[in-house]
Amino acid sequence: MFIYFHQYKFRYDKGQIAPLMILVLVILIIMAMVTVNIYKVAMDKTYSANAVDAGALAAGSVMANVFNAIASSNAEMKKGYELAFYSIQASISIALVYISLASAAAGRSIGLALSASRVSSREPCLAEDLAADAAVEAGVAAGKMKVAASTITSAIIATSALYTAQLYFYGKLRETAAEGRASAIEQGHKFLFYNGGVGSRLPEVIPEGSLWNKSRKDFSRFLDTIDSGNGENGILDTYSFDWADSQGRRHAFTFDSGNGENGILDTYRFDWQDGQGRQHFAESVVRTGQLDAFDLIVTVLPFSVLLGLLLTARGAALASIAFLTLPGSGAVTYYAGGAKLFKTACAIKNRCHHPACKAIWRAVALAGKVVTSAGKWLAGSAITSMVSASIALVLFRLGIIPLRGVPVRDSSMSAPAVLFILCWIDDIIHDRRLRVESTLSQEGADLGLIKTEYPLVKSYSVVDFQGSGKILPKSSPDLSFDASIIETDVIGNR
């Protein structure tokens, strides 16, 4: 063609500008169309980049709030454990003090009974006093052990309350964390679509007699239905929004979260077809790790073992009380019985000086000695029970301390973690990052001579919400988890 122009037309003077103008015109039209398309793609890219930033920051901020809330609750959880721990420790200390006092009293009763036995064959009157004192001491020991047993009972109640409270509030914290994560993802999607230009494609008010069947208000109302008050965990399985525009083109915006975690999917796609049958879609992806793996600091011993120790201590304490005071068979009864016999022997000795009487009071004193010895044996058994109770309490005391440095991982609120008393959360297994992606696809128009095409407009934004936050803050509240964008497809990795 150029050779033709060159050879013939360029030397021809008349109308030679016309083909050139046609060529220029075609080029201008193509350039105009390209410009329009580039502008359209650039606008879409701007929308998309803003949308992912908005979505990422919104979702990241919610995640930061979730982590701050967990940190705050964790500080309370630790405080709750420590206060309960110290009050239980104090109960154990009180119980040990009273066992010690009881043990001393029981020991004194044995000493007195022993002395009574020793002097009984010579001085039954003195033996009577000593045996009576032994009975009093045994009674004192029993009284102290009653306090010890009751204090152990209070430790049982306090320990079970600590276990159930920590378990319950931890369970609630897990639920709140999962809901918070779902809410973060939900907010990420919402902010992405709010800023992605979907709403701007709809009219403010549906014009009278037009084919539009939804306005922006309808879209806004629709987005409001994505609310924590609906469905399982506050999120419905399926959301659908459809409308027709002024040209009668049908559009639909549907996402299905049927199998999503906590009722929410990480990907939502908005598909629509316009009046010319062109297919379009906008896709939103929000990804962040699950909030279900928690490293927990727990007590050295499982709760049931701790309870077993306290119940053993309580049983031993009650057994020692029985050894001392059980009517008819306790040490007090035997000491008192021995004292009575010594008293009888004393009376005979003092009133009858006949040689036969000597044999009688000695025989009675011997009987008193045997009975007192039985009391002594029972008091000894009581001390053995006290020692058993003490051993159980000491083991309990060592078992209820936190096992630091060896966290137990819990992924589903199940054994082994929940078998122990939860002290506090050591960490949450999560990278503290959240990524939001957007994809916009628009089908080009077939203009006969030219078919326009649009590339996929993709954007992403990564937010880090670690800030300077700590799951176990030094002070409460210490709200230091904070979201900031660290990477986008535009600026790269910061």
Partner: protein, 343 residues
């Protein structure tokens, strides 16, 4: 200075008592937040005294003094002021009632080592007339308590004192955390003479009143723990009542506090039992001592309420059943968790 103030306060107390026939309306909330612990202690110890009285002047003076944090110790009846070593802070305190007697707990964090803290208290408590008691030594030497030395040694760090029948114990945490030594001082006098142990309630009742009056308290239930902030409250109570009775109580009473029941979760079994193998694994000493796992059942139930502001209040109930074994009587009680969250 504090003792002088204590005298002043006791005089003020006398004046206030004389104003018994009038009505005092003290607004505890006006006490600055930084008064914190003192304000709570004040509220717990003195609110009953003020109920039914009127003396705005007296209350204002008291509130003012408390706001300066200078009357805290003077108002805590039966609690002796114990000096605190240098570089040591009180981080928490609470008062509990066991068998009708008040026990005071103060938790401290110190930069000092355990031996330095022990030496400090040995000296100051001896000066204050307290006598050190080695109860553990009495058990290990005279009482025949035979224990692994490491186990006993860790308890030997603790100190026990006695004065006029009152006990004072210093319990040290097993490890230093963040370079700090944590310890707790418990003091109080367990007065149980003249009463049988059976007729006394040994539940460690926390003497505190939740700031958030959001849920009724089951009759006779004892407050065991309380944690609260501006927009939340977590409280644990213990009751001897059956779980079903407690659940019915909350179903019936919560609406009068503006709550609607939105979820009545079914009763579920809580698996707490470790195996005998676990005992041998986690506590070989327990196995040596013949400690057996308890036969115990635990059931859980949950009621979830919301109100018009979309606040949430969960009532978690745990029923603990320990059956009678040999001579040891059965134990049945219900732990009640109240979890309030403001929207």
């Amino acid at each position: 200075m504090r003792y002088v103030l204590a005298v002043l306060v006791s005089s003020l107390d006398g004046i206030i008592r004389r104003l018994k026939d009038f009505e005092i309306r003290i607004c505890i909330d006006v006490i600055p937040a930084k008064a914190g612990i003192q304000a709570r202690r004040f509220k717990d110890s003195w609110m009953p005294v003020f109920t039914g009285m009127t003396a705005n002047l007296g209350s204002s003076i008291l509130a003012l003094l408390f706001s300066f944090g200078i009357l805290s110790t003077a108002f805590a009846a039966d609690k002796e002021v114990i000096p605190v070593p240098a570089n040591t802070q009180e981080v928490a305190e609470e008062t509990r009632s066991i068998a009708g007697s008040q026990l005071y707990f103060s938790q401290y964090e110190s930069s000092l080592r355990i031996d330095q803290i022990r030496n400090f208290y040995r000296k100051v408590l001896a000066d204050a007339g307290w006598t050190e008691k080695d109860y553990l030594g009495a058990l290990t030497q005279g009482g025949g308590l035979k224990m692994d030395s490491a186990a006993v040694n860790s308890m030997k760090e603790n100190l026990n004192f006695e004065k006029d029948g009152a006990l004072l114990t210093l319990d040290f945490a097993a490890e230093r955390t963040g370079g700090k030594t944590a310890y707790t001082i418990m003091q109080g006098k367990l007065e149980v003479s003249g009463k049988s142990a059976e007729e006394l309630d040994f539940t460690p009742r926390l003497l505190a009143t939740p700031r958030h009056d959001v849920a009724p308290v089951y009759p006779e239930a004892a407050l065991i723990s309380l944690s609260e902030g501006g927009n939340f409250m977590q409280a644990a109570y213990s009751s001897k009542a059956d779980m079903d009775a407690v659940a019915e109580f909350y179903r019936r009473k919560m609406p009068s506090y503006g709550w609607d029941l939105v979820e009545d979760r079914p009763v579920k079994d809580v698996q707490t039992a470790a195996s005998q193998a676990d005992i041998e694994k986690y506590c070989p000493e327990c196995a040596e001592q013949g400690i057996a796992l308890p036969s115990m059942d635990m059931f859980m139930k949950e009621l979830i309420f919301t109100n018009t502001r979309k606040d949430r209040c969960r009532i978690g109930l745990f029923q603990v059943d320990v059956p009678k074994q040999d001579q040891v009587p059965a134990m049945n009680f219900t732990n009640i968790m109240v979890d309030y969250e403001k929207k």
